[in-house]
Symmetry: C2
Subunit: 359 residues, 2 copies
């Protein structure tokens, strides 16, 4: 993997990643003036979680043309995008409108609520220079590179010294509000351990304590023994519809060897992980013959403190269609009680996904 | 309040509620044959929550006409709806396609996951015989009746002896997948305490323990002292944009006297609660001049065990528009980390909502 760091004119960091040597053929652009972000965290006392507030002052100095795509390489210097022209595969830069920043100032006290600076970092990950593709349709080598990029970002964000949890994700689909079609994802780096990560860590620790085994090892062994919920098994990595899926076609990608961070995967494990991930995404797109809107999250252990080898590294994919063209919405029970209703048994969903063929 | 119980031809329960004496002018209908529901709960070991599965066998014996509205009173006996003709204001019946039922059978063991019967009850609450209205536009007496109905359902579901938590809610808006426009809500009664309720209870207990005061009393006193986030104060009830709002125009309706269940509210407190709730909903509809899609949940204490007087009864309204026509979607950070990003400070949202006028 090749990588090179740059600084954008507006002060944000940019890193280019590539399978082949990097070459930059234009200025490093920013799409406009610096945005002053002063993100704040406030404590929700009844849900026991932080809420991020980011009210930005925008300093845009140009009106983009209709087809303007900020994630494409800059071709017209009058309309700079986020990225230069050149030879590279994947780009990562600080989000221009971040929910968290490393240098967020302490907010003025707000009566009635505990508030503090929104410390953290939000990054955008552009998966490809080609605006028309999808993550699943990229060459497997480039999906593999993305695994490396996610691992590298997690390591580098940890090295900053302020970060306790890194969430890499992709949210895809006009159906769920994604306005930029260029294949890309995001990274949120928090200065604390968010609720989902805390719950998973606690559960995995309890399992390890009770059984002496990592949760991931037992889960993989059980899914392989049962067999019918496995979508693809490449030996060092596999995909399953978990038997407790919350979304109808929820798919998890897991390493066969229990690790807690992407950076712990060996080269050949990453190859298998990428192949299984690509397969999972292509199956979901082929399932109904339309691009499946989805949320993909990389679940990794908390960072920046003691290691948590018991945490099960895995990818969760939440497909938003529960049937062709029929979106799953989170309504009363999901949001008001925190409990999901799912129409489809995981074994049935797995059978459908196993039967899918794709070119 | 008048109420009367009926049994539908397919075996489901129906209760009619009214401000004036009830009169039924037709047969009690069912829209089709009985649906065999065998809901199942499976345990999500990493999120430490139950997931509800309901794969129903449908026994529909008729094709409804295009304008068929199952929540309207039956006018054509060839196309029975859920409700009879007659004199009543609000109707409650068991959901024909429930996610939980009181007599769910134990499922066959599923290797790899902890599974059990989906015990509970799902009800539909029809707010009015008029299909064209909204909850906020109903006469305040009818909103007040709905408070009584929610209180009565909670009490009666508790009396069954198997229920530990009751969630009354309304999910409204085509934008969030609601296909029936007839004003209605739902009730989920669980045989356990779901995650959100458990977290709130724990937080409220910790507050009570640490300060000696109910959380709700301190919160109401603080919001009244600060003032600017209060939308309407009727003395015995008030509405606020909480200082830790997760949705841009999130609005809470609270009683001024801390109670844990709707049934504990006095008659005059219910009057005030209804007036404040109606005002909150009308403000949200007037904010952008379009019907605001929203989720409304009634947060009440767990039931069926020891009382939890420290639990803060309140209504939470999550408006889904963060700007006119712009929906808030739950993406990576909300779903993958459990932490919300909100563009708008609660004080700004409150200022906008306070400035709203409606006819």
């Amino acid at each position: 993997m090749y990588s090179e760091d740059f600084l954008k004119p507006d002060g944000r960091a940019l890193t280019l990643y590539s399978l082949t040597p990097i070459r930059v053929d234009s200025e490093i652009p920013s799409p406009g003036e610096a945005v002053e972000a002063r993100p704040v965290l406030r404590w929700h006392p009844l849900r026991a979680e932080w809420v991020m507030y980011a009210a930005h002052r925008l300093g845009r100095t140009f009106l983009p043309p209709p087809e303007y795509n900020p994630l494409a390489p800059t071709h017209d210097p009058q309309h700079p995008t986020e990225l230069p022209r050149g030879e590279y595969n994947i780009a990562v830069f600080e989000n221009r409108f971040p929910s968290l920043t490393l240098n967020a100032p302490a907010p003025a006290p707000v009566p009635g609520v505990e508030a503090r600076a929104g410390i953290g970092r939000c990054e955008v990950v552009v998966f490809s220079q080609d605006a028309s593709g999808t993550l699943g349709s990229l060459p497997v080598e480039q999906v593999r590179l993305l695994i490396d990029v996610w691992a590298d970002r997690t390591t580098r964000l940890t090295e900053i010294g302020k970060i306790r949890s890194v969430l890499c994700f992709e949210n895809r689909g006009v159906e769920v509000g994604v306005t930029l079609h260029h294949p890309h994802g995001q990274i949120y780096a928090y200065d604390h351990i968010p609720p989902v990560s805390a719950t998973m860590l606690k559960a995995a620790q309890a399992h390890q304590h009770a059984t002496g085994h990592p949760w991931l090892a037992d889960f993989v062994a059980e899914e392989r023994a049962v067999g019918r919920r496995v979508l693809r098994d490449e030996g060092e990595a596999l995909s399953v519809v978990p038997p407790f899926a919350r979304y109808s076609y929820e798919t998890w990608v897991l390493p066969a060897r229990p690790v807690s961070l992407l950076s712990e995967l060996t080269a050949s494990e990453r190859d298998a992980f990428a192949a299984v991930l690509k397969d999972a995404l292509l199956r979901l797109d082929a399932l109904f013959g339309v691009r499946m809107p989805y949320l993909l999250t990389v679940q990794q252990a908390p960072v920046g403190g003691e290691p948590h080898p018991e945490f099960p590294l895995h990818i969760e994919i939440y497909p938003y269609f529960r049937a062709k063209g029929r979106l799953k919405y989170l309504a009363g029970t999901e949001q008001g009680a925190g409990e999901f209703a799912n129409d489809k048994l995981p074994e049935v969903a797995a059978e459908e996904l196993r039967a899918v063929t794709y070119a």
